[in-house]
Symmetry: C2
Subunit: 474 residues, 2 copies
């Protein structure tokens, strides 16, 4: 069983024989509506954590526990019998985004549907499908070889979609048992055209809410219109002032700490195989629009930006209701790049909004979440091992990309645990994470399982070939 | 019973004896959730129409019918036995505004609650309480005198809160049986401080919706942020462009047809007893804000304005959801003054919005409702009769005011039926029409019943005293 030279066939045979069972298991996992942002789904988050812990235990992972945090539980498990081999933390999250607008789903978000190579469900890609591939890889390794080639510590959280703040506290409190050589985060995707990719840069996040209040109650727009301000118009004026028609963010000092791309980095991005028109068509927009002076690839991954994620106030029904809303609100977030600090950016946003607040309304701004931006080195041995693992499974060397999204915990692994982080994710680029009809490419999922095993093997090989493995646990 | 000299006491006695019964009846009427704008309440609108028809019939009004329109039914009834006396159309509406935000009501909107002199319920003031006072006045007249002093035709519609378009068609189709000398509209209120008032000007209305679409589905704000436009920001930019910081509407040509107030009119308004600070405090706003160069009273009743009545798009829940919304929407309406045409104003709005629409999003504008502005002459005999009727019941001569709201049918009575219109309404100025916790002042309601009878008597007296009654039915 542990003869490494015959293992690949054995592992493949095992995976071929267990395909139906693992799809049934993945469906079961996806059926749990573990939406972390909505308090009414707290019990579902716990159910998903329990389910995941059971799956890890059944796979043969040891010391499995569902452990408390200030938010939803963390699921921990390890396998630490590869004496002398590196230790890797594997990270993912079992929580999912909210599902609204529900009426745009072609099938209920928590009833998985297979359509050709696509598995449609909330969380299929982000991130349950990816952590399920890790659990399957663990089960396959232990079933066929009886062991892992390296030491592995699994850390699966339940608050990623609502900030990862509870995990940060948990990581700090549990540093003693999280000693490792590197962290593998599987929560990213491939490059356009479904080209395997390793993500070497992540944007940070500052997520805030702006509230504008006019009056205690809605006012009749006929009786009061003209005499009082309108909170939705005031909010529109504030939002319009945040970004210029040139796509530049107008919050004073916003760009102060931005680390500009080098000419070498810009040239490397320009060399990536990117078909702008195909991308535009796949996204389904009439035109790509962004900050003047930068390409689309630069804009979506290496430049900070500001978006309104939600806006509401007053009457939203059919027909007409003649009111001046009492209140209007907007969720406003910025994606940040290296060296911007989310708390500093929040303060600059808040100060500017309060400064430009129109008269006759009360304006307040509060912070909902932060994540620091990260950049990981392309030439780190762990990154190279992951690249070889991806190439072994997908038959093509990965490209190195920056990703516009944020994984707050990536910065935490670096700063709290002092670990190099490799972002090895497996989803198709247009899998609709966070949107209705999120889907997982089942081909990618199957190969991801093999890529995880191959990556572990490559990390084990690093040591034997004298790779400059960094160790914090001696 | 019909001896007029002994009637007042008899009528008062009758009203004193039937107070509990009419409050119970009013509660019953208010319990019907006849929200005209929401299709799911169509059956409730019909139920309210049937209830009202029953009440009119029980009062002794004749030829009562619930008659079809292109929208909700019109309730018609008449009493035409006052030979030689004037004929008056009495107008009101049995439909009500939607009730959201529901969580701001202190009690369920369709379960009336009496709190001191206040009766709390959706429609209590606008307009069920007022038409109920008319039904009670009819019943009291017929119970105590056996007759009306004039001929009366009741027209109660069910679409006022969603445009009155169906009624306009019905009035045109039923001109033959609507011959009259004047129309009394009871759908307005008193002047600040609860001073009896006759409304001599109404603003018109143009109500539209702006839709901004980015993409078929919400997009992940990390993956796509910076590369695509944001429909909520685009909408904010459009809205911010519609009105300047000076409160002037910036739609080209918007003010072209506005009939400016004369110096005499401005002086008369300045003479009205209006405590701006008390008004501000009663509305509950931190400051009164409006068009530069005009007073608050002028702004809220004699100047056109533009408001956002509702705005929505993207995530509205607790916490954070990191999306770029697929779509964003706003309900935008303008209040119009004499000589502005709502269709012309809509075209100007639409053209301007499409002209300034930002790139990368699809913008569309559609019309949801219109109402023409009206101004009625202060010195018309019917206006003077109503003023005497109000003074008899409320012990104080009314002031003449312009009202910022719109009653689309007022213009239709003038243009289609050729009738002078008197706007004799009875609600307290801060009764929260269209807002949560709408209430009716029960003192005003009781006196309104007496004022209606007194107004009918004054109209009957007009003829005998040689008032210059205008007749269209010979």
């Amino acid at each position: 069983m542990s003869d490494r030279t015959t293992t690949p066939a054995t592992l493949d045979d095992h995976l071929d024989a267990t395909r139906d069972a693992r799809l049934a298991s993945l469906h079961e996992f996806l059926r749990i509506p573990s939406i972390s942002a909505l308090p009414e789904h707290a019990a579902d988050a716990r159910r998903a954590a329990d389910w995941l812990a059971d799956a890890l235990g059944t796979a043969g992972v040891e010391n499995v526990e569902v452990t408390e945090t200030s938010g939803h539980p963390v699921v921990y498990g390890d396998w630490l019998h590869a004496d002398g081999a590196p230790t890797v933390i594997v990270y993912g999250h079992y929580d999912v985004q909210p599902v609204d607008p529900l009426d745009e789903w072609t099938s209920p978000p928590f009833e998985p549907v297979v359509d050709g190579d696509r598995l449609l469900a909330r969380g299929a890609a982000d991130d349950k499908g990816q952590i399920h591939a890790h659990v399957v890889a663990a089960a396959a390794l232990l079933a066929t070889r009886g062991r892992f080639p390296i030491n592995v510590k699994y850390v699966f959280e339940g608050d990623e979609e609502s900030s990862s703040v509870p995990l940060e506290g948990w990581l700090t409190a549990n540093q003693h048992r999280l000693a490792a050589d590197a962290a593998i985060i599987s929560d990213t995707g491939f490059f356009d055209g479904n080209i395997p990719a390793i993500t070497v840069g992540l944007r940070g996040l500052m997520y805030a809410q702006i509230d504008v209040q006019l009056s205690p109650v809605d006012l009749h727009s006929g009786s009061y219109g003209g005499a009082v301000n309108n909170p939705a118009i005031a909010l529109a004026q504030i939002i319009a002032a945040l970004k210029g028609p040139d796509g530049r963010i107008r919050i004073p000092g916003f760009y102060d700490d931005v680390l500009e791309l080098t000419e070498v980095e810009r040239a490397a991005m320009a060399d990536l195989p990117f078909d702008e028109e195909a991308y535009r068509a796949a996204v389904g927009v009439s035109a790509l629009v962004g900050e003047a002076g930068y390409t689309t690839l630069e804009r979506k991954a290496t430049r900070p930006t500001l978006d309104v994620n939600g806006i509401w106030g007053g009457f939203q029904g059919e027909g007409s209701k003649t009111i001046i809303p009492a209140k209007a609100h907007a969720k406003v977030s910025t994606r940040l790049v290296a060296r911007q600090d989310p708390h500093d950016v929040f303060e600059k946003l808040r100060d500017f909004v309060l400064e430009i607040a129109p008269p006759g309304v009360e304006v307040s701004v509060h912070l909902l979440g932060t994540g620091r931006p990260t950049v990981t080195p392309i030439d780190h041995p762990i990154t190279r091992a992951a690249a070889r693992g991806l190439e072994a499974a997908f038959g093509r060397a990965p490209v190195y990309r920056r990703e516009g999204g944020s994984i707050p915990v990536a910065a935490t692994f670096e700063s709290v645990l002092g670990l190099p982080v490799v972002l090895e994710g497996f989803t198709q680029p247009h899998e609709r994470a966070h949107a209705p009809n999120e889907w997982l490419d089942l081909g990618n999922y199957e190969k991801a399982i093999r890529a995880i095993v191959a990556t572990f093997d490559e990390i084990a090989a690093l040591d034997r070939t004298g790779g400059d493995r960094r160790s914090t646990d001696g």
